[in-house]
Amino acid sequence: MDKKLLNISSSPHIRGEETTSSIMLDVVIALIPAGLFGIYNFGINALLIMLVSVVTCVLTEYFYEKAMHKPLTTHDCSALVTGLLLAFNLPSTVPLWIPVLGGVFAILVVKMLFGGIGQNFMNPALAARCFLLISFGKIMTDFGIAAKDGVGAKLMYGMSSNGYAMVDGVSGATPLAQVKAGQTAHVMNMFLGTHAGTIGEVSAAAIIAGGVYLLVRRVISIRIPAAYIGSFLVFLVIVNLIKGDGVNVNYLLGNLFGGGLLLGAFFMATDYVTSPVTPSGKIVFGIILGVVTGIFRVFGNSAEGVSFAIIFGNMLVPVIEKYTIPKPFGRELVK
């Protein structure tokens, strides 16, 4: 053999096929059912918000990296995921400058200024949502008007004479708010998603379908969603028992399917960057989220609590990881 140079490197000499972008694309695929349902339910405006949000997020990352002379990372598709998730967390009635502002905040402030992908300590989409919620509370909680556009809304609410959907005289109250107000939840509608809410959170069925896809593809582990949802329900049961209300299945299901719990549990709390890497840490993290969400929902002013609970949980991740480093193989019993 002539002396052609051979490659030398440290083992292993083979690599798995998975890449950051393939994982992110899996998340995008998992988000498709909820996204499609959002468009079905809320009409073309939902699609528009998604597009604006995604484009804003990707462009923000692109221009920041260009301006800072950093290597481009937009191809890893993480900004795409952030954009979609942000849109999913917005009501379909918001003006289009809301997703623009939210997208810039999510990518520029929460992600890039802290060092880009892998370095942000808060979920960018949720941080942006909370930022918008605090700054523009009225716009961010106006769920009513849009219900006139979507097919699903028409199915559910029927068309009133002026074309606006009205539910119990309260324009645009989410079913979760109704549950909190002591009304009986229409569980089947909540499961399917034909009701008011943010674009991506309404259909429990679509979110669960996406969640199952992520589990099957091993993009996420069951630990965080299971611990989160489980501890949340247990918390509600305990509170009910203490209050002497007994276990109300309708109330529990209303809380499970209503609001952002499922979207949060499967897509936001499982965000790699802002959740613990240790197996037991994931469970601790999930339980904390469940309890905090429960506290916010039961004792808070708003019916919602998922976004703030997850942001709060994100802050605790370094501490959780520190105390949940697993015992290595063969050292479980030895000190």
Partner: protein, 440 residues
């Protein structure tokens, strides 16, 4: 308690189809054979021949130095041409005895004589194994006579033959189990005779059902030997994972298999024990797989130790594609080599020629903390954090997070979606820490 598998690990493409069906063919040696004095873990052997001396097949040409060391035996007869540094798999030159092959293959006295192991004591068997220069042939090259001399022989209740062959592409153990199962079982019986209270297990991954069937049939009437079917998963053949899968016992980095009452030896090693003890043939040959998509005719060869890798490639029909990477051993833990004029040693299990280097050109990107490395790590470590400490040269934190438990199997690096070279960093950090420990 039989478990049959372990937590963590990965499922890479196994690539074994290339050479799986090829029977072991005997390869004759060329004119020059090179015997490095260090082809095992421990102190290098000391040459006991001089340039110009005649040597015979089976003659010890370098003597073990100290307890953890191994003899080196000539695999041909001829003249010692040189004693000098020669390039080895490690990438550096190692003192080697170069023998000019006279092609007459004259043997030492008594070579090849049949011997009844049942008439030998444990000490006698151990001495034969030591004389024969047998080391772990799975890759690590730990001197076998040392394994056979545990501190507390009564405590040894399990002898495991490692037939997992979990490295992708490798088929040499598979062929041995298929073609020479009687030698394997005989070797195991020799070992069992040294430890009366021990039971023998042959652990085979379930991607080799034919081997499991053949071996199980042969040990039907042996109440002291059992064939264990193991789940196919890398690194099932790693000592700690194998012991766990077979016995349910766990050992960590600071323990020896003997601490869990076990002795573990690779298939080819056990056959070598049979050869040495029952057929008076020291370790002068090994089975090696020559494979990869760049090789014309992937094969399994039986070769004399000391032949150059170039001979293996030539005998496998040469290259059909330009090789981008040559690997001695498997793709997960093998060494990339940059020259083919290096000798086959006792622990060379395969020569793998790949036309495409999957690793070159990979641009590591930022860690997204997906935790896949944590799930894949068979040692239950947190590679993502170890890598952070490694790259920050924080050895104290690396040790604190149990980095020294890592045995560099490569699972974390294989699964990493950001393609970060974690194993390489761990290797450096671990070497550095071990060097400092030795200094103390």
């Amino acid at each position: 308690m039989m478990i049959g598998t372990f937590k963590g690990g990965i499922h890479p493409d196994d690539g074994k189809a290339l050479s799986k069906s090829k029977p072991i063919t005997l390869l004759e040696a060329g004119n020059e054979l090179v015997f490095p004095v260090s082809q095992h873990i421990g102190a290098p052997a000391t040459p006991i021949v001089a340039v110009g001396d005649s040597v015979l097949v089976g003659q010890i040409i370098a003597q073990a130095t100290g307890f953890v060391s191994a003899n080196v035996v000539s695999s041909v007869s001829g003249k010692v041409k040189a004693i000098e540094g020669r390039l080895t798999v490690s990438g550096s030159k190692v003192m080697s005895i170069v023998v000019e092959n006279d092609k007459r293959y004259e043997t030492v006295k008594g070579f090849g004589n049949a011997r009844d192991y049942t008439k030998l004591t444990a000490d006698e068997i151990r001495d034969i194994v030591k004389e024969a220069g047998i080391v772990g042939m799975g890759g690590a090259g730990f001197p076998t006579h040392v394994k056979l001399a545990p501190k507390d022989p009564e405590k040894i209740d399990t002898i495991i033959v490692n037939g997992a062959e979990c490295e992708p592409y490798l088929t040499s153990d598979y062929r041995v189990m298929k073609e020479a199962p009687q030698k394997l079982i005989s070797g195991l019986k020799v070992m069992l005779s040294m430890f009366p209270s021990a039971k023998g297990f042959i652990g085979v991954e379930d991607n080799k059902p034919d081997c499991i069937r053949i071996l199980a049939k042969m040990v039907e009437n042996e109440k002291n030997i059992e064939v264990v079917s193991l789940k196919t998963k890398y690194p099932q053949g790693a000592e700690r994972q194998l012991i766990y899968a077979v016995t349910g016992r766990k050992i960590n980095a600071s323990m020896l298999p003997a601490d869990a009452g076990c002795i573990v030896d690779n298939v080819d090693t056990v056959v070598s024990i049979h050869n040495a003890v029952c057929e008076s043939t020291p370790l002068i040959r090994r089975i090696i797989t020559v494979t990869g998509d760049a090789i014309c005719d992937p094969r399994n060869f039986e070769v004399r130790t000391g032949v150059p890798y170039s001979l293996l490639i030539e005998s496998a029909g040469g290259f059909k594609k330009e090789p981008a990477k040559l690997i001695s051993g498997g793709p997960m833990m093998g060494n990339a080599i940059y020259d083919i004029d290096i000798p086959v040693t006792k622990n060379s299990s395969a020569l793998l020629a790949l036309s495409k280097d999957e690793v070159a050109g990979l641009e590591p990107s930022a860690c997204i903390r997906c935790g896949k490395c944590v799930t894949a790590c068979p040692s239950g470590l947190v590679p993502v954090k170890m890598y952070e400490y490694s790259t920050h040269f924080d050895e104290e934190a690396f040790e604190k997070i149990n980095g020294m438990e890592c045995y560099e199997c490569g699972c974390c690096t294989y699964v990493c979606p950001a393609k970060r070279p974690m194993t390489q960093a761990f290797r450096q950090t671990r070497r550095s820490i071990m060097a400092k420990r030795r200094k103390k």
